[in-house]
């Protein structure tokens, strides 16, 4: 299959700061890619370069077979991180205007706008001015403006930030529906859980560099489980036998349960059998690594991160706080 996006050795600096360093990225047609990383990692800069809004200092990229996204703009849908609408324009007119800029025309356009507004539950605001809408409503309007022209490639920069759970689910379903329609989708997020729920393929970026590019399934096998969660029947049970079990590296206690870390190469099923034999067990499970764990392990492996740094990183990967404005 042809590549929807092809990036080779792209570097972008803003003054002294290197925003993206020597990035390679390939997204095949029909792919559903999650672009993850903490705030300031270089996600938005990369996306803006793909959109030809910014231009790389070095390296080359192609989008839908063109050297620049400018030549394929009408086939791309883009939801920027910074939401914006023409505040004084009516919602329906604004959507029709953006669609016209994307090369849509004809009498069916207004009808299409109306149909989409109905789908996102905003049919009644068609004749309201954009400035009268709430932030969440404006975000849905923006999403509609990105997909109205049925793009082949859909790039969503932090599409879920600021949405309540109901609308988050609605938007997720709409994104998946676009994927089923055949669109290639890339979306960026700093909230790893969202990526886990939607994506087939994950690209992780940290400090402007790509640190991971794999399918979700592959990631789960590669970063195989190394932690056992164990809860004894009695809170007073003696936990000392745990440390004598072969392959156990560390044991930490939390809320009457234990987290047991295993050494590389040790078979978790054997360790679990030994634990159950040693202490009466209420609950035992193999903890599957989340993307968050994976990300933190990668970052930890690449640099000497202190415990506090890790905690801060963890917090930033969970929080749904709006990302800071960046150039």
């Amino acid at each position: 299959m042809a590549d929807a996006i092809h990036v080779r050795g792209v570097t972008k600096t803003f003054g002294p700061k290197v925003a993206v360093r020597d990035l390679d990225l390939t997204v095949p047609e029909g792919g559903l890619y999650g672009f993850i990383g903490p705030n300031g990692a270089g996600k938005t800069t990369t996306i803006r370069m793909v959109m030809s809004i910014l231009f790389p200092d070095r390296g080359e990229l192609s989008v839908l077979g063109h050297k620049s996204a400018l030549e394929a703009k009408d086939r791309i849908g883009y939801l920027p991180e910074e939401r914006g609408v023409h505040r004084k324009m009516k919602v329906g007119s604004f959507l029709a205007y953006v669609a016209r800029l994307k090369g849509q025309k004809g009498s069916g356009l207004r009808h299409k706008v109306h149909a989409w507004l109905e789908r996102v539950g905003l049919a009644e605001v068609e004749n309201k001015r954009c400035e009268e809408l709430s932030k969440g409503m404006q975000q849905k309007i923006q999403f509609v403006s990105a997909v109205l022209h049925e793009p082949e490639l859909l790039i969503l920069d932090e599409p879920f930030s600021g949405l309540d759970p109901v609308n988050m689910r609605l938007l997720r379903d709409l994104v998946l529906e676009q994927h089923r329609r055949g669109a290639t989708i890339i979306f960026s997020t700093h909230v790893m859980v969202q990526a886990e729920q939607i994506c087939r393929q994950i690209v992780m970026i940290n400090d402007g560099e790509k640190v991971l590019d794999d399918s979700l399934a592959e990631i789960r096998t590669r970063f195989d489980p190394r932690t056992i969660l164990f809860e004894p029947m009695s809170r007073e049970a003696d936990a000392s036998p745990l440390e004598r079990i072969g392959g156990v590296e560390r044991v930490s206690r939390a809320d009457g349960a234990y987290e047991i870390g295993l050494a590389d190469g040790c078979d978790p099923s054997a360790a679990m059998r030994e634990i159950v034999a040693a202490i009466p067990t209420a609950r035992i499970e193999l903890h599957r690594p989340t993307l968050e764990d994976v990300f933190i392990r990668i970052v930890q492996g690449s640099q000497d991160a202190s415990a506090r740094d890790v905690e801060r990183l963890r917090a930033s990967l969970r929080s749904d706080a709006p990302a800071e404005a960046r150039p």
């Binding site: 803006r48 959109m51 809004i53 910014l54 400018l70 703009k73 009408d74 791309i76 883009y78 920027p80 910074e82 939401r83 914006g84 609408v85 023409h86 505040r87 004084k88 324009m89 205007y97 953006v98 016209r100 800029l101 994307k102 090369g103 923006q142 403006s145 404005a325 150039p327």
Partner: protein
């Protein structure tokens, strides 16, 4: 191209289809109308009537009678009537029925009445030839000069009418007046004395004053301008106002379009809609579309006011004065001036985050645009001076100055016009080039607004 059109269309509609714009375009003529009506009301405030005494010491005995006649209220009123007729002659012949029907003729008369003040009631008394001049001056110090009392003391020299054998020249007179005497009263008195003395001299020399007057009188005529379409009366007032009107039109339309462009650019940027737009159009297309949209807005303003102007000329039946080719040049210079100013405004709008920050950059642009206004008087007085010629080739003010020169009574040679247009097109190109570079980078830059050095770096970067 289609995208540029859609951007331009939105820009135009978003600017024109607002209450503010419609009110703005209607309200300006209304303000002008109010100003005219208000001025009329103010002018109707009449000056208070002056009453008082003019004392004359006339040792020659030849002058007093004529001065007395000259300062009779009826005589003053008659002379003022003549003056009024002279003023009315200034209104074009063809416009008179119109002026009369709308009451403007009436207005003009009333205004004139007010300026002249109500005819003063002066009592001219003759003092004894041997009267003490110092004592006669005393009454000038008392009273307020409006209700009786002595207003002036006129002392005719005894050699004013007949030259004594031992003198080379004839004598004159002295005039003493009270403080704050109305200038017009003083003028009446000096005019009267002058006439009376001259008549007395002529009479005593055995000449007929009537004949002398007839011989020395040459009517002041109004010039007639000869054109290919025929002769027409030269209208000096309109000739002086025409360049002003053209420059005003250019200024207002260019500035409102430019200002609008800056405002909407800042709006697009601060509402962050710009990134959505840039995912559909290139920065150059966006800027071009916006410039074209606002250019159309400026043209609407230009058309509306130019239409009103031509309408007014037609109403006064002096539309023949207007050289229609000037309107064509007005539009050409509008395009040039607009592109120069609007590009700079777009660049400013893209570089800053909010209106407040734009002020720093606006100041040099506004100062430049004020230069033609400062130059208006010297240039319209001498439209072909070296200074005027040089400034009409100097961007960015060349459009304004050239239009000023072209609408004057001595238009520049055609080659100068086209050279100025050429310079203008080149400067417009340069301005758009500069703006495109600043726009492309600035439109996505948030945070601290750039200083001039940063702007230059952007231009080099892009």
């Amino acid at each position: 191209m289609n995208k540029v059109f859609h951007v331009a269309l939105r820009e135009f509609v978003a600017t024109v289809a607002t209450k503010g714009f419609i009110i703005g375009i209607v309200i300006t003529p209304v303000i002008i109308l109010i100003a005219i009506v208000g001025m009329r009301t103010l002018l109707n405030e009449k000056a208070p009537r002056i009453e008082g005494e003019v004392a004359v010491v006339d040792p020659t005995g030849e002058v007093f009678a004529d001065v007395h006649d000259y300062l009779r209220p009826e005589a003053i009123a008659e002379r003022r009537g003549e003056l009024k007729e002279l003023a009315e002659e200034q209104i074009p012949e063809a416009a008179k029925p119109f002026a009369a029907s709308t009451g403007q003729g009436e207005a003009a008369r009333m205004a004139l009445d007010a300026v002249l003040g109500e005819v003063p009631k002066l009592e001219v008394v003759r003092l004894d030839d041997t009267a003490d001049v110092e004592a006669a001056k005393q009454p000038l110090l008392s009273g307020d000069g409006t209700s009786g009392g002595r207003l002036a003391l006129l002392v005719i020299h005894d050699d004013a009418v007949v030259k004594p054998a031992d003198r080379e020249e004839l004598g004159s007179y002295d005039l003493f007046i009270r403080e704050k005497l109305d200038d017009r009263i003083k003028d009446e008195i000096t005019g009267g004395v002058r006439e009376a003395i001259v008549e007395a001299r002529l009479r005593l020399a055995g000449l007929d004053p009537g004949e002398i007057q007839a011989l020395t009188r040459v009517d002041r005529v109004r010039s007639r301008t000869v054109t290919a379409e025929g002769e027409k009366e030269t209208n000096e007032i309109l000739n002086a106002l025409m360049p002003m009107a053209f420059m005003l039109l250019l200024f207002v339309s260019v500035l409102s379009g430019g200002q609008g462009l800056m405002t909407t650019t800042i709006e697009d940027k601060s509402s962050r809609v710009v990134e959505v737009l840039l995912s559909a159009v290139s920065p150059m297309q966006l800027m071009t579309g916006k410039i074209i949209g606002q250019m159309a807005v400026g043209l609407v303003i230009l058309g509306a006011y130019a239409g009103m102007g031509v309408g007014a000329l037609a109403a006064f039946a002096v539309v023949g004065m207007l050289d229609y080719s000037l309107i064509v040049y007005l539009i050409i210079f509008y395009f040039i001036a607009f592109f120069v100013v609007a590009s700079l405004m777009a660049a400013i709008g893209a570089a800053v985050n909010e209106m407040r920050e734009a002020q720093t950059f606006m100041t040099p642009v506004m100062l430049t645009l004020i230069v033609p206004w400062v130059l208006w008087m010297p240039i319209s007085r001498d439209p072909n001076s070296t200074f005027a010629v040089v400034t009409s080739f100097l961007p960015p003010i060349n459009s304004f100055v050239m239009l000023l020169r072209m609408s004057s009574t001595t238009p520049p040679p055609l080659w100068q016009v086209w050279l100025s247009i050429l310079v203008g097109v080149a400067s417009a190109y340069a301005a758009v080039w500069f703006a495109a570079k600043v726009f492309r980078i600035g439109i996505l830059m948030f945070g601290k607004p750039p200083d001039f050095r940063t702007l230059v770096r952007w231009v080099r970067m892009a």
